[in-house]
Amino acid sequence: MSRPEHAAPPEIFYNVDEAAKYAMNSRMIYIQSVMAERALQLLNLKDENALILDIGCGSGLSGEVLSNKGLAWIGTDISSSMLSVAMQREVDGDVILGDMGEGLPFRPGVFDGAISISALQWLCNADFTDANPYKRCMKLFTRLYAALKRGTRAVFQWYPENTKQMEMVTAAAMKCGFTGGMIIDYPHSTRAKKYFLVLFCGASSDPSEEAPKALGTNGEEPDEGDAGAEGEGAPTSASVLGASRRRVSRRGKKVSVKSREWIQSKKDRQRRQGKEVRSDSKYTGRKRKGKF
């Protein structure tokens, strides 16, 4: 899959044409909404009358999910084209043009939570000279930590390119005082696999609160027809930072090279190709003993 963040900086990539796609394309709208719902679920809000910050709100698709749940929200985005679309759609929240890598323009302790859908990966790219992704992450998380009320959460759905990016982002977040870690929904599926960075801002006021669970860790796929897609799949415990990182298991056991099975399958393949192959015997694939 090509990565749009390699093509151009976000404020250029999300131009008028791209912004129009987000207003018209029903599949895009559907995917964004489902991810926003999942992020909201992970946010675990206790109160319905909350004020949420939407980082990288774009045309306000995720904001609409918030509005539908009766939540008030404020959005920031770097693309003025996307924000214009949001204005045309008459979204309920106020939107602000801002670069999350410069920090967030909010005073301390005003938000009950923050969500961000498909935005954080843009921060990992140096799009202009003297841009340092780690420093920009630090600026974002410092201001985010301050702007959130204590005991709240921030949930980022994003597309990390590699483990290094994941480590850089989480390290920056931890340094700014957050706790939490990555949650991977549907880890065995290439299409439905989704990464969520769940950050806790200070200790929760509710000690009985459980760590969030990942979806689809048993290998099931999400139900495409179900717009809600909530509570699907058997949950397992989330990988929390500092603990061992979860590795995605390979499908099927890999056959070791030069084993009998490997030789057998290679011979079978060559036979099918019509090549001349030695007949199989009890000595096939057997190791030579000692001296020749």
């Binding site: 404020e11 003025s80 801002g98």
Partner: protein, 116 residues
């Protein structure tokens, strides 16, 4: 930008708040009131910022000693129904000016390639 949003804003560069607000064009919009939400926001509202914004937008309101005395209808009106369409925000500490264009405050420090 409505005044609720203004009340939450701080300077990107220095974190100072409230930001001075200046309006070239304003609009009154109608928003369905949500009293429960506003009650919850009441203790989060910065009085100084709100009064300063109202003064610079030349909106007269009866004076109250503290935010808890404001009637909820009035709070709803000033926070949710007054929108600055064109104008600017200014940080009086580091002198950065953030323009407000088409209701959107532009709070980017780096010269944007987005144009306009």
């Amino acid at each position: 930008m409505r005044l609720l949003a203004h009340n939450l804003l701080a300077c990107v560069r220095c974190g100072n708040y409230p930001l001075l607000v200046q309006a070239d064009e304003m609009e009154e919009i109608e928003v369905e009131p949500s009293p429960v939400f506003l009650e919850r926001m009441r203790d989060r509202i910065d009085m100084k910022a709100l009064q300063m914004a109202l003064a610079s937008l030349e909106i007269e309101v009866p004076s109250f000693d503290s935010i808890s005395e404001w009637p909820i209808e009035l709070l709803h009106h000033v926070l949710q129904e007054i929108e600055v369409v064109e104008g600017a925000l200014k940080c009086d500490q580091c002198e950065v000016v953030y323009p407000i264009k088409n209701r959107i405050p532009h709070m980017i420090l780096r010269g944007t390639a987005d144009g306009e």
